[in-house]
């Protein structure tokens, strides 16, 4: 039945939003993401009473397994990976009755026909009303085929605002491998599905601190009035990981760091930091403004391949005092691999607000610590009032810590108590943990809930993804064609290659110590 615009039993702001009954299907249900993130997230939604009262979750995969075997495995997964331990037996006991498993090849027409019948039976048994979320947690190469088969078996309904039932597809990254492949993939998908039914997940957008970026910028007038090229010198966005590539050697050899997280996570952060004020908080209003930012960034060209971008690959080194191997010695990695595990780039946003303000992005594996943050470095105070000998007057820096130790800090200068006018930088710090206590929900919890609700604000739209590829693909092509002879060029446990420091030194700046 059709959705009611104003439901008499709902009150916005005084009640959780209520969700339509539905079945959530996870394709690739035997994979790591399902056991580590998705099922624990859905279990938490159940535990907190955030799932619809009529709800079923079905795992879809090729491996033979019974419903009970799947339930048992998922219970172990929740016990291991849940953010709240131990598992609540009564909640699990209830949840597992809503958990099913279906065996099929991703490509088998017959498998999908059987699957359709199975879902219809579940609809009748559980009152799920034919509403569907299909979560594609498989290798990206399967995405078009799965969506085609879902369409052929009428499991994907034609999109309509007025329709009495809905179907939506959540897609994991990466969306494409380059600008052209992303465009091709999009074209192919549009044969079977409407863009409004596609939810491209970027789990960074589900993080509380990333969501807070909008609130921080647009509900605090003191910062927004300084948020432009008059006051800001430059912006640094850092995504550092201390982990190596682990068992993802094959994936990394195909993708590299830029595709793994610069093209998606970091470009999302950049567009949220740089966007203009949306006229409201609807998905389209926000995403329109994000896209405008990306459209103002010129793609890399022969003039900037060398000067504005640096790549790196880690060699052996030390993490937490323990010796670790270099990238080329990792499992499933070529001994002469040319793949980057570090990248630093300089970008300019060609609009009134940001004219002349460089945005420096750096991301890397096997850096000394895990830290994702955005630093807004303000211009120095005018004049030389406090520029006394042996006195350091530093620029104000506003840092938004995405993970870990989520929070916001402001570096400012203060006079050291005493008879001289010596100035010293001090830090004002807001920490999420201190203020809000409990562990914030996992990004996947919010995102799954939003998809069931039909809110695509925190998902990447087609033009965001395509524009991001448009900027970075020429650089990736250049790197592909021009092998880096210096690899490996940074030791595991260091802050990246020397070239990355030089990138900023040329502009008279330096990377912030994260």
């Amino acid at each position: 039945m059709a959705k009611i615009k104003e439901h008499p039993l709902e009150e916005i702001g005084h009640q959780q939003r209520s969700l339509d009954p539905c079945i959530l299907v996870i394709f690739g249900a035997t994979g790591d993401l399902t056991s580590r993130k998705l099922i624990p997230a859905i279990y938490h939604l159940k535990r907190e009473g955030h799932l619809p009262s009529n709800f079923v979750c079905v795992g879809f995969a090729r491996r033979e397994k019974t419903h009970d075997e799947f339930r048992k495995e998922m219970k172990e997964a929740v016990s291991s990976f849940s953010r709240v331990k131990p598992i609540d037996e009564s909640v699990w006991g209830s949840f597992e009755k809503q958990l099913y498993y279906h065996v099929s090849d991703f490509d088998s027409r017959e498998g999908y026909q059987n699957f359709k019948s199975f879902l219809e039976k579940l609809d009748l048994q559980h009152g799920t009303k034919g509403n569907r979320v299909f979560y594609l947690s498989t290798q990206p190469s399967y995405f078009p085929k799965i969506i085609q088969r879902l369409n052929e078996t009428n499991l994907l309904y034609p999109y309509s605002e007025e329709s009495d039932k809905w179907s939506r597809v959540i897609m994991e990254k990466p969306f494409g491998h380059s600008f052209q492949s992303a465009c091709d993939l999009q074209q192919e998908l549009l044969n079977y599905i409407n863009e409004k039914q596609l939810y491209r997940i970027d789990h960074y957008l589900g993080k509380e601190t990333v969501q807070n970026l909008l609130a921080f910028r647009f509900s605090n007038s003191i910062f927004e009035s300084l948020w432009n090229n008059r006051y800001i010198d430059h912006i640094q966005i850092t995504a550092a990981e201390e982990l190596g590539i682990g068992t993802r050697g094959k994936f990394y050899e195909e993708e590299g760091l830029v595709r793994d997280f610069m093209q998606n996570h970091m470009m999302q952060l950049l567009s949220l930091v740089a966007m203009e004020t949306p006229h409201n908080l609807t998905a389209d209003a926000i995403r329109n403004e994000k896209v405008k930012v990306l459209e103002c960034i010129s793609p890399f060209s022969s003039n900037t391949f060398i000067t504005d971008a640096v790549r790196g690959q880690y060699g052996k080194g030390f993490i937490d005092g323990k010796e670790v191997i270099g990238y080329r010695d990792e499992e499933n990695v070529a001994k002469d691999s040319n793949v980057e595990t570090y990248a630093a780039v300089k970008l300019f946003i060609d609009n009134w607000r940001w004219d002349g303000v460089p945005f420096y992005l750096r991301g890397g594996k096997r850096l000394p610590k895990r830290a994702t943050e955005i630093s807004i470095v303000f211009k120095g105070a005018p004049g030389k009032l406090f520029h006394l000998p042996n006195t350091k007057v530093e620029s104000n820096v506003l840092t938004i810590r995405i993970q870990p130790n989520e929070g916001i800090s402001l570096k400012m200068n203060c006079k050291i108590p005493g008879p001289t006018n010596t100035v010293q930088p001090v830090k004002m710090d807001f920490s999420y943990g201190s203020f809000f206590g409990l562990t914030p929900p996992e990004a996947y919890e919010r995102l799954i809930c939003d998809c069931i609700y039909g809110d695509s604000t925190l998902f990447a739209r087609e033009d965001e993804v395509i524009n991001s590829w448009r900027i970075l693909t020429p650089l990736l092509d250049f790197w592909q064609e021009n092998k880096e002879r210096e690899f490996p060029n940074y030791a595991a446990g260091s802050f990246g290659p020397k070239g990355a420091d030089e990138l900023l030194q040329r502009d008279g700046k330096k990377w912030r110590l994260v």
Partner: protein, 387 residues
């Protein structure tokens, strides 16, 4: 007996000025009012070494005139800080005290969750009745500026209390506990009057306590076909736990709220209210059709008093909805839906966790005054027979 002023002057007024450490989850020190902030700072200096972080999102004033509820309110405060760290200022008026009493103590309280690194300031103020007027003067200096202030008015708002308006003036939002009123009808009037008089936002813990049920109904009747069925319902049975304990004695309130909420949202017109032994029958009209609501008592000591245990709804066409607490876990509600020739597999919904303080947490989370709640108050206020 020495006069209050003499006692105050001599220092006897304060039970102990030697910063006695009381063994507890956190240290508590009895101090003079003027030493509250300095003693708190001293406590925090001591706590720094064990990795606890001092945090506060708002001020929470808890005002109570019943010494019996102190432990209960302390539990409530701890539950609140688990979710939202805040500075808690608890003022308790001791009616029985013969001598003038003014006792202030400070401590840092932590949540029940051991993994939580956050701890909060807790200022406890005990006063005899003759000192009651000092309450706002003791509280005001210790409110953290620029942060919202919530007042949990843990007393009957129907009673005249000169302190009420003074504390309400400090508050962003006043949260009542209708449990403390002997007559729900009068409570509703008092709450409405308060809202009209002060303009401040109001809430009630019992309203917060049925949020899970309201959510469950919204979810279940989310689609138009199910909502249409709800509109056709002719009979509703609400069972509640009538078992009483020392803190909770007015066990019917949540059921009355739930039925009044349904009636106001579905625009039913009140017709009659009758009591039959332990049950209540309320009749409404909708488009010349009668809707009969029965409130029935059950009694179990294993569940918090007043909690709704089951709701059953039936249409004249034989559509039947049953929401019943699971026998294995009372935080789960089992949903059955059937028609004359069809039956859905029962599903389960996590409705609430039985922990003191969660209703207050929910009400702090919300902003403004719920229009649904105001309508329920108006609905119940108009019918004097509803107690």
């Amino acid at each position: 007996m020495s006069s209050f002023k003499e006692m105050e002057k001599s220092g006897d007024l304060f039970n102990n000025l030697n910063f006695t450490k009381i063994s507890h989850m956190s240290s508590e020190y009895i101090v003079e009012p003027s030493k509250i902030e300095s003693q708190l700072n001293q406590i925090w200096d001591e706590l720094q070494g064990i990795g606890k972080t001092r945090a506060s999102l708002f001020n929470l004033i808890i005002y109570s005139e019943s010494d019996k509820r102190e432990d209960y309110l302390y539990k409530v405060a701890r539950k609140v800080i688990e979710k939202f760290p805040c500075r808690v200022i608890m003022a308790t008026i001791d009616y029985k005290a013969i001598k003038p009493v003014l006792k202030t103590s400070v401590s840092a309280i932590t949540s029940e969750s051991k993994s939580n690194a956050v701890a909060c300031d807790f200022i406890n103020i005990s006063l005899s009745l003759c000192n009651r007027e000092r309450t706002p003067f003791l509280i005001i200096p210790h409110l953290t500026t620029d942060l919202p202030t919530y007042l949990l008015w843990a007393d009957d708002p129907c009673k005249q209390n000169p302190i009420a308006s003074k504390l309400e003036a400090l508050a962003t939002r006043v949260i009542f506990d209708s449990e403390l009123s002997d007559e729900l009808n009068k409570f509703c009037h008092a709450a409405i009057n308060h809202k009209e008089r002060s303009g401040s936002d109001i809430a009630d813990l019992n309203w917060g306590r049925i949020e899970g049920w309201r959510q469950l109904f919204s979810q279940t009747f989310k689609t138009k076909d199910k909502l249409d069925l709800l509109k056709k319902v002719s009979s509703i049975e609400i069972c509640y736990n009538a078992f009483e304990n020392e803190y909770l004695r007015h066990t019917k309130i949540q059921s009355l709220y739930l039925q009044a909420w349904l009636a106001s949202r579905l625009e039913w017109t009140f017709k009659s209210y009758a009591t039959e032994k332990a049950a209540v029958k309320i009749t409404y009209m909708s488009d010349s059709k009668e809707i009969n609501i029965h409130l029935k008592e059950t009694a179990t000591s294993e569940m918090i008093p007043g909690r709704i245990t089951s709701v059953k709804l039936e249409t004249p066409n034989g559509d039947f909805f049953s929401f019943e607490r699971s026998k294995t876990s009372s935080q789960l509600v089992v949903l059955h839906y059937s028609t004359k020739d069809y039956c859905e597999i029962p599903s389960e919904f996590v409705i609430d966790k039985y922990e003191s303080g969660l209703s207050l947490v929910k009400e702090i989370f919300h902003k403004g005054t719920s229009l649904h709640f105001l309508n329920v108050l108006k609905q119940l206020a108009t019918h004097q027979e509803i107690l």
